[in-house]
């Protein structure tokens, strides 16, 4: 399965040139409607999330985070799709969607808190509509489908009222497609005609397992047997990712049922900071994909569009400020209160939790206090 031999929506070539093939003209029309401010926002956020990612890796290396999960190389897939999600839509991420998170108002520090071990999530998924990170692969995809089934039961699909209708998008990787939960999700979505887009970021590596060991059929076709059509998109092309997500989320919201998008991208960094990719892949391959970098490509495009140097300088300065800021905030994060161990295990009162909380309090008092 050679990625290049499959049809793929690409609007922005690796050299930064823009062009729309005839069969993809409706995707091009979406881009025609974007103004310069929106294009600049794509760039600003891709650069911002990369700078954040680099700083987070540094913080982990210095022992300030327990773990970091880099998304370097996947910025276009995440920022492009994230901005195409509508104002009422809900997002069910995996655990590498830092870029999608910032398109929906999730504080970057919330993600760092989780990776520092201060909490297990800790943003409000109702407020942000960006649900909590899911570490068990594929588990969140079923939640997304259940949520979408509920949206349909609520009558919030296909009414034509854009303030009322909503759809759901679930993110997962090429590795997660092997999980049974993902297959069950495609099935439940199809038979319930649920308003959902399955967004696969195929970054081609599931830790050390190459995509060739995860599937025999290209992933954009994974839904076919379930009745879920799909499209491959150049995941390093922010415009293609935006246009495809916009059109298919709109269609899901209109009641056309589930759809699958495969964003073909590449994980430039390690799986996590615990991983060493030099043990299982060639530097040549990584270099090939560095040449297809999503941010550099978009910068070329923007410069050709007439965006001036001072914009890029301003973004670079903002990145340095962000890095400094999150570094300071990470150092300042307090340890959570000890008794929060017992909070929210249950919503209702629970005698065992009450007893253990009281025991720990008494024990700590006897030992001279905790903090």
């Amino acid at each position: 399965m050679t990625p290049a031999t499959e049809p793929m929506l690409q609007l922005l070539a690796p050299d930064g040139s823009y062009g729309v093939e005839k069969e993809y003209s409706r995707y091009g029309e979406v881009i025609d409607s974007l103004g310069e401010d929106q294009l600049k926002t794509f760039y600003r956020d891709m650069a911002r999330i990369r700078r954040f990612d680099q700083e987070a890796i540094a913080l982990q290396r210095q022992g300030q985070l327990g773990l970091w999960v880099p998304a370097i190389g996947q910025e276009a897939a995440q920022i492009g799709s994230g901005y195409a999600v509508g104002k009422n839509d809900h997002i069910f991420p995996s655990y590498r969607e830092h870029g999608v998170a910032i398109t929906h108002g999730v504080e970057l520090m919330s993600i760092l808190k989780m990776m520092r071990g201060v909490n297990h999530g800790g943003w409000n998924p109702e407020e942000t509509r960006f649900h909590l990170y899911a570490i068990v692969l594929g588990s969140q995809v079923l939640h997304a489908v259940g949520y979408a089934m509920g949206v349909k039961l609520d009558g919030k699909v296909g009414t034509g009222d854009l303030d009322n209708d909503l759809a759901v998008i679930s993110y997962f990787g090429d590795g997660a497609t092997a999980e049974g939960d993902v297959s069950e999700s495609l099935l439940f979505a199809a038979v319930n005609e649920a308003p959902i887009v399955f967004f696969i970021q195929n970054n081609q590596w599931a830790i050390s397992s190459n995509i060739t060991s995860q599937t025999k059929v290209p992933l954009y076709r994974r839904g076919e047997g379930f009745g879920v059509p799909g499209l491959r998109v150049d995941g390093n092309d922010v415009l293609a990712c935006y246009a495809a997500t916009k059109i298919h989320m709109d269609e899901a919201r209109e009641g056309k049922g589930p759809y699958l998008l495969e964003a073909l991208t590449y994980r430039i960094g390690a799986h996590t900071t615990s991983d060493d990719p030099t043990k299982y892949r060639d530097e040549e391959e990584v270099e090939y994909w560095r040449q297809r970098d999503p941010i550099a490509r978009f910068e070329v495009f923007l410069r050709r569009q007439g965006v001036e140097e001072d914009f890029f300088e301003e973004v670079a300065v903002a990145g340095d400020e962000l890095a400094k800021d999150i570094r300071e905030q990470t150092f300042a994060l307090p340890k959570p209160p000890l008794e929060s161990i017992f909070d929210n295990v249950y919503s209702d009162d629970h005698p065992e939790i009450n007893a253990q909380r009281a025991w720990l309090r008494a024990y700590e008092d006897q030992m001279g206090g905790h903090e």
């Binding site: 909490n119 297990h120 999530g121 800790g122 409000n124 998924p125 109702e126 649900h131 909590l132 899911a134 068990v136 588990s139 995809v141 079923l142 939640h143 997304a144 489908v145 259940g146 949520y147 979408a148 089934m149 509920g150 949206v151 039961l153 609520d154 049974g180 939960d181 069950e184 999700s185 099935l187 439940f188 038979v191 909070d343 929210n344 295990v345 249950y346 919503s347 209702d348 629970h350 005698p351 065992e352």
Partner: protein
């Protein structure tokens, strides 16, 4: 009591009536699972609900247990209260990951932003002459998992009320139905709930020994107590009703009175609910005990072929053998 509105019904019918009541009270209550709609489930617990509530409130799911529980979680996030049926105890394991890593933890993970009012109904236990995977007692797996509540009614009145209380809980509840007792009849008080969901109940008063059971074993325990009485042994029978949390104050009050305990269960004894209860009684009522706590359970084998289940399942005689051992101290 004379003023109350009583009706005689079997456990399966009582569950059906309780589900109907819950669905009438709150239109966010959904019922789904394998074959629950037109057929009414393989045990007919949901019979007739489709006609009353329509296919947006009760519907068949694809035969995929992880999908059933996973979508129930998503529906809970959307404000629905799902009652998901797992067709048989042995088929819950494909959903085990969604139950233990997701359903049980999402309230904790989200720091309370997301509640999980999901009820998972599972017919449990043996005694119906079934093929493999239709006679399991998996309660310990769920009772071991923080974030879940686990309950099991033993009679029609509890079935009617506990299913409604479970649906009202903001937390996930594993609701274990005593499969071989589905057709056991009894009075249901349609006006007043007997007890809160997580209370145990003393069903028969006694002075010599406390016999603890739950779900399908309660009827067997009552039979043992009856036979014991004929031999002059006064056995107090306690129906746990709630398996997580366990109502320890009720158990300990009885142990303080009788000083002797037998725990009867269908599950294999090793690392079972009975093991935990025995340990807790030893910890909290040591000075009251005159004898070790004895468990009477299934053997530590897979559930045997149906032709051997009569010997595998603890019966009144096996319980009384344990009673004799405890009384010999």
């Amino acid at each position: 009591m004379a003023m109350s509105n009583y009706q005689e019904m079997a456990i399966a019918k009582a569950l059906n009536a309780g589900l109907r009541k819950a669905m009438q009270r709150d239109d966010k209550v959904l019922v789904f699972g394998e074959d629950v709609a037109r057929l009414g489930g393989v045990f007919r617990v949901t019979e007739g609900l489709l006609d009353e509530f329509g296919d947006s409130r009760i519907f068949n799911s694809p035969i995929a247990e992880s999908g059933i529980v996973g979508t129930a979680i998503g529906l809970a996030m959307r404000g629905y209260r799902s009652v998901a049926e797992i067709q048989f105890d042995g088929f819950v394991f494909p959903a085990f990951n969604q139950i233990t890593t997701q359903l049980a933890r999402l309230t904790y993970r989200s720091e309370g932003f997301q509640q999980m009012p999901v009820v998972i109904r599972i017919p449990v236990g043996g005694g119906i002459g079934a093929v493999e995977h239709h006679s399991e007692s998996p309660e310990a797996y769920f009772a071991h998992t923080p974030g879940l509540r686990v309950v099991s009614p033993s009679n029609p009145n509890d079935a009617y009320w506990m299913i409604q209380q479970a649906i009202e809980s903001p937390d996930p509840v594993i609701f274990l139905e005593p499969k071989r007792r589905y057709w056991q009849k009894g009075p249901v008080n349609l006006d007043t709930a007997p007890l809160p969901l997580h209370s145990a109940r003393m069903l028969r008063e006694g002075t010599d020994l406390t016999l603890i059971a739950h779900g399908p074993m309660v009827a067997t325990a009552l039979q043992a107590a009856e036979l014991g009485a004929e031999e002059g042994i006064s056995i107090e029978v306690i129906d746990l009703r709630s398996l997580s949390p366990v109502d320890y104050p009720t158990l300990l009050a009885s142990v303080q009175k009788t000083s002797r305990v037998v725990i009867a269960q269908e599950a294999p004894n090793n690392v079972s609910l009975g093991s935990e209860i025995a340990a807790r009684i030893a910890e909290q009522a040591y000075y009251y005990l005159e004898a070790p706590v004895i468990r009477v359970g299934g053997f530590d084998t897979p559930y045997p072929p149906a032709k051997l289940e009569e010997e595998y399942l603890p019966d009144a005689d096996r319980i009384l053998e344990a009673v004799d051992r405890v009384l010999a101290y």
